[in-house]
Symmetry: C2
Subunit: 489 residues, 2 copies
Amino acid sequence: MDLEFNIESKKENSNSKEKENKLITDYSKFFSLRNTTPVQVTPIELKSFVVSKDYYQFGAGVPSHLFFPIKGLKFQFQYVDETIEIEEDNLGTLQQYSQLPGFPKLIEWLRELQKRYHGLDSYDTEGKEWDILLTTGSQQGLDVMFKVFLDRNDSLLTERYSYGGMFALSQPFGVNTIGIEMDDRGVIPDQLQYVLKNWCTLHRDKKFPKALYVIPHGQNPTGIIYDLERKREIYNICREWDLLIIEDDPHFFLQFENPMNEKGHRILEKSFLKIDTDDRVVRLDTFSKFLSSGIRMGIITCSKKLMPIFNLEVTCAIFHPSGLTQAMLEALFLRWGYEGFENHVKRVQDILIQKRKDAIENIEKHLKGLVTYRVPNSGLYLWLKLNNVDCSLTFIRDIVFPRNVLFGLGISHSPDRNVKSPYIRVTFSYLEKEDGDVAFKILGDCLRSLNGNNNIDQDKKTVSVNDKSSSSKPHQPLILQLQFHQQIR
Amino acid sequence: MDLEFNIESKKENSNSKEKENKLITDYSKFFSLRNTTPVQVTPIELKSFVVSKDYYQFGAGVPSHLFFPIKGLKFQFQYVDETIEIEEDNLGTLQQYSQLPGFPKLIEWLRELQKRYHGLDSYDTEGKEWDILLTTGSQQGLDVMFKVFLDRNDSLLTERYSYGGMFALSQPFGVNTIGIEMDDRGVIPDQLQYVLKNWCTLHRDKKFPKALYVIPHGQNPTGIIYDLERKREIYNICREWDLLIIEDDPHFFLQFENPMNEKGHRILEKSFLKIDTDDRVVRLDTFSKFLSSGIRMGIITCSKKLMPIFNLEVTCAIFHPSGLTQAMLEALFLRWGYEGFENHVKRVQDILIQKRKDAIENIEKHLKGLVTYRVPNSGLYLWLKLNNVDCSLTFIRDIVFPRNVLFGLGISHSPDRNVKSPYIRVTFSYLEKEDGDVAFKILGDCLRSLNGNNNIDQDKKTVSVNDKSSSSKPHQPLILQLQFHQQIR
């Protein structure tokens, strides 16, 4: 584990010769077909689309400020005594179209945040230019990644278990996701190397991957953290094979067992962005998991060279995230300052420690011997292996859910859906201790009903987890659209 | 012009035999390839992803409400005396993940709004089910339309001049946009029929179109309105050739010269949705042009059969629009009620009448004989033909913009960029009379400097609008990405 507090500059390996050799100056080899069909527009047209007070500008298709409905807006924030009133000028700004990367003061504040946590130089340092761009959360960050980099039948390497929303997104895009085996430090470097070296024999029908998608801290669903050494091994393999790294890091601030610095704040692991010497990391942050998910706001951080195309994709898709959300975050962060932000993060971590403790007490009480799990030191999730179940989907669906208890299902986190998964995911951040007491007891009862009875009579339809129709063959996924249509009829 | 107030039921042609024959029950023929690669997920997994209080649900990947930063929120709205405070329960809701179609009370209110204005039956009427879905504005509505319906090299029919953001979006999607000639009542039916009949000779390299994209009221950029008769003609041609109609209608409420009803509210034209007997209209609404653009909120309205795939696309792209915006609109609309909403619309229309008057006085003062235009009775725009200019882009760029005046450019509204356009678009809603006085005077001076001098000495680089390099050949568009990259370097 990395014990330094990460406000130092990104200078690692800066003297190595390799760095000069691998710096990506032209990303076009990674681009999707859609990205090679650029939008045709002249600079003067670009100017004519946006509101400006620098000249008489009547080109932009904007409403009059006289139409705006909000004439007053006041927030009360956690850990802030006074009520914060949004000024009249800002009320106008938040109700009118604005421009990416986002509200200037908010962007400035967030650039400094990224600098502090990811060891970046000033964003406009010559030769090391980077920048941020606001999105409506990391889900949109992913939509942009797929649009910009990945064509139909392109391949994306992922962790063996990973974020379900990414797999769901990959399917309409027609992108192959190939999971790499993990241990409790993340993707196993030898496995990654093996898959890449033997690509043409293992995956000869699929295009060679362009990127590795990775969730490095509080990994979803396993809760593990990639330590620095593991990150460096993975990074070097991605350099060797010239892969981009899409670092989706929603739980970065949820590393709740790391050692503390002198100010009592936990020292967070170095991100892939922090060790990135080649500009091959595109980092996705979101406020969803440690602040608020409903406000829908996230950040893309990467080399400034990629920003124009990301900016174009976000603009074409939504113009920009809600001005109301931007104004709220701007007011909150400027009032909190970085110290207030760090205090909030510390409180969130402390809450998670308590929530995890509550969950584990209940698991030990009700599920001893029935499940196998690793105590997570980050993130929101417990990843439980059901010891005597080979398909958690059928077990939960047919036995547990009828008793009004539901958990996340292993299959949702697998790139390969033609397998059975014995895992369930429990969001302990959302779990009230009393509810957990009830829910885990029910889960325990259901599991015990199977115990020693794993090869239950195949004809007994009551215990369908092991019945012939469901678990004796790989799980056959149904189709979302059909399901929806069926609901309608 | 249609004089009835449109709260009646959608019953037109309901007795005709044709209706039964043309009702679309299966949309798969319109679907894109990405849409035929459905997301694989079982119903129990769908349940496990979302927050529910109906059972013990610890599957969803959600933060604790203890992390949420907003503990108080107060709005003051136009035309409402008291301050509206968002209740604690709603504060929790708006800061947590929520589900599409959107916040229940807001959705209920908006369904009723759509019913009133578009003559729909109750949304769950058997055999006539329709619904709405929130988006972050119509730009996202378009992103969804392209994703769901249009593949690379598919074709989309548009108006001869149309919304620039739609053309920009079509390019990365690789979709052909073919503009149909218009008069001051919209797309000319004979022209539409001609293009469809002769598709294989006129456009043999392009796939037959799947849809017509149309902006029926306050058309962007021309400001015209399709009257009911014209709509019916267009609609019948779309029936004949089995095309979907994407009705993008941001200026529906900006019909500011229509006759009034007994309550003093203007009677709005029937929309394409209102005359739709076949479920072939997908309607996009937005709050951007008559309420606020910065809050980023729009609505898709169409047959309920299409909702699952639209829901899936919005969910995969952004999960849902900002809860802060949803809560704000819910509070506003529930307080205003439909009468308050209609009063707001009336005030907006009255402002536009004044703004148009101001703009036209300035045009008549400074541009008499130099421009040709039609006085618009809806929307935000004046569409001016510069009488002695054949390429407004080079003229504005080289002669007018150096004098600190900028307008929208005709070429931005053309599906074919290899042409010259003599038009400019002026957003009169955004124009202050004094500023217009200055800006139109400068435009007039610039135009007069050309007058009688149209074939100006080709070597005189000072008047580059007619110089050899720019206007003697079709305008060669530059590439956005290159421009951006150049800015970076």
